[in-house]
Symmetry: C2
Subunit: 209 residues, 2 copies
């Protein structure tokens, strides 16, 4: 689908068709397309837990304000931002460095420099670590929603959940922030989609202080 | 441009053609397309400072590791996330509510409920406020990069800057987090773009604990 059309047609859909599934191939395609998003020092500090099983979705629903779309959508993602993705020893960090060397973007002898650089940019405070996790997860999640639309699917990003409850239910350690849940499926065409919501225009976005 | 092609062709470009400008119309188009991104309770807690003036870009460069692209790109954005965008009295919050009522998404008598809901989801701790600002700014910034590519332009999201230095130089209050700077312009075709960086595949992104 044409990019701008994808932006326009992506809507946070509240009603999912419970008779229509998302295939494993579709989900893989969406996730790997979204993974083309850029990230801080290419650290890609995002992970997802994929829920398809009704029992697991019921568990999630209980700690997510009982939102019906959690059980109605065939797939629900718990999107995670890794607050330690900048850190020496972190699996993605190490794999990222190895692959950077392989691809000729960095040299082996730059390892210590890379460790110091990401530490000073993202690791120096808990505030920075959280910002790193959330911004990059935001890049990835936005790309996911567009990739879903482009694949003929619909999505809904959700904030209405109890972070600590989700942590406990799915054994998610403090290493990860949970920036959002995302339902993915097909819009239930028997329902009416409200008109698009208001958006700020250029003059409402651009500021000078 | 086709969506997946836009995802593939978007690259963090290090070298900008200093002879090619970005028009005001292009910039407006990019920003308003990106503004179609979803946000927490549609609060759109994003702002940008647009730098075109060479003096201002020089000022920014000094607090951004002297990155040459800051003065080489015709446009540099300071992207902001509003940590108070969920709060009664915040201009965007109030405008958002008024427009929600106008569009039939909410009723006037739901105002207090809206205030309480956004407060409990985004306002209850400084951690939540920061996560709210960064995730949503992430949605917007990702959309900006894709919209730029779709408009035939290139971009570069930058983390390499001194947040406090940028705050001071551009008079940005603590209300805003600065998740990134973004250079926008045309790739300098006399330079070589390195091959795309490594990305995690599906199995490296999906986790279970």
């Amino acid at each position: 689908m044409e990019f701008k059309e994808t932006m326009r047609q992506r809507r946070a859909v509240n009603f999912f068709d419970t008779t229509k599934d998302v295939t494993d191939a579709q989900l893989k395609e969406i996730i790997e397309t979204a993974a083309l998003a850029p990230s801080s020092s290419n650290l890609q500090p995002w992970k997802v837990i994929v829920l398809r099983d009704m029992d697991k979705k019921e568990t999630l629903k209980k700690v997510a304000m009982n939102q019906p779309k959690i059980t109605e959508a065939p797939v629900v993602l718990i999107v995670l931002g890794d607050r330690e993705g900048w850190k020496k020893g972190n699996a993605d960090f190490e794999k990222g460095f190895v692959n950077s060397v392989k691809a000729g973007h960095m040299k082996q002898e730059q390892y210590d420099q890379f460790v110091n650089s990401t530490n000073s940019l993202y690791g120096i405070s808990s505030e920075r670590q959280l910002a790193f996790a959330c911004k990059n997860a935001g890049f990835f999640a936005m790309s996911l929603m567009l990739a879903a639309k482009d694949a003929g699917l619909d999505s809904h990003p959700m904030d209405g959940f109890d972070i600590d409850g989700v942590r406990k239910a799915f054994n998610i350690s403090d290493q990860y922030w949970i920036p959002l849940l995302m339902a993915i499926g097909h819009f239930d065409k028997s329902k009416t989609l409200l008109p698009p919501k208001w958006r700020k225009n250029y003059d409402e976005i651009v500021v000078n202080f």
